[in-house]
Symmetry: C2
Subunit: 263 residues, 2 copies
Amino acid sequence: MTRNIKLVVEYDGTGYCGFQDQGRPDRPTIQSVLQEALARTCQEPVQVIGAGRTDAGVHARGQVVNFHTRSRIPVERFPAAVNTQLPWDIKVREAAEVPGDFHARYWALSKTYRYTWLVRATPSPFWHRYALFVPRPVDVEKMRRAARHFVGEHDFAAFRSTGGGSKSTVRRMYRADVWRENDLVHFEIEGSGFLYNMVRIMAGTLLEVGLGRRSAECVPKALASGRREELGSTAPPHGLTLMAVAYPDGGGLENPEESASTG
Amino acid sequence: MTRNIKLVVEYDGTGYCGFQDQGRPDRPTIQSVLQEALARTCQEPVQVIGAGRTDAGVHARGQVVNFHTRSRIPVERFPAAVNTQLPWDIKVREAAEVPGDFHARYWALSKTYRYTWLVRATPSPFWHRYALFVPRPVDVEKMRRAARHFVGEHDFAAFRSTGGGSKSTVRRMYRADVWRENDLVHFEIEGSGFLYNMVRIMAGTLLEVGLGRRSAECVPKALASGRREELGSTAPPHGLTLMAVAYPDGGGLENPEESASTG
């Protein structure tokens, strides 16, 4: 009998060419490394479906994937078993058996992304991989005002790099906030879905607003006009992290409490 | 005229053979990399004196060093100037001019070290370099009780690996605490000085106490007996960070407010 297994996965994306496999063994992806580790664990070829196709260099604390397998390994043993096959920069946090038709991408109700800046005079070895270094003060209140314009259903055509294949550019954002935590400034946004490079264009725009180089009003203007050039540059990938993916009824589980959480 | 410059330095020690230069170019040290960067900045050879000789793989958020130079670079420009010459994993946070007889090691009143464990079922890519992974629950209250026995003036002969050259093994600990922060457990200790591997033996012992493999009473017993074998194993270096070094009157400065802080 085939089972459908959902995994919550964390990764440091620094060393990878993004989530999505590109069929090039010289360019490792999160998907290809996960598939190889799962194939060794399950002793059969495995096809991994990811909720979010994160770019090269983007990290995840709560990426969700699913795969079908005939392996009889008890689901609660999956995280430890797969983790012994994975490198240090990709780890499985949780595993759960889900209904056969669960699909990590199609079933996702929302995704939450976070962009982080290190705002101080000198760079930090400890944030080098995870935050964009900004050696000038930023106005967090202005950034927050700009970010709140993202909330609601809008046509985000202006917030897209060429190369994304989506037909509709309408998405719904459920919440958007900007806050300071010591030397860090975080931007977090939850939405129904995101266009290609959308969060990084949002982050690049918010930084320019915070530095006083652009007005917060550029956001409603660009939402109305659909013009990419009214926004800031695309922020580099290493400041971005996929935080969580939400599903109906606790992730497509019959009994969410039974999932092998490792919290 | 020669000036004496004090620097506060942060580093990720993963890629280095400790702080202290060993005269082997194939084994880079924090000291050798700092000296090379400062020599390029000051355009003359520079000898760096460090407050704490951290082991290979140990990190620092507040290491303090000093060096003498005839360079006329204004002190407030030192952090940015040196940082352009340093790799991502070593960065200068602050610079200040100090009296000619200031010595980063001899003048230090106390040093604060922190040891961090990641206590949960699965390892984390984000803490892989900075915390020891512990996949079993620990009793933080027992660890705290054991740690409090460190406070005061004691003969720490039992808390030393062979290889340390100190004659006296008496040290004074000003505070010691253990606390939980989400999935992390931290042990932080401030003392007048530390013997070779002393904090790592303390941390290894506290973990065994937390796991129920050793009683908190082993600490006063080992302090009385001086027997290394009554304590736990030496914890691995990557969980350890030198947090701060304290000096009289704000670091040997005439006017601490004038230091080029980058907080």
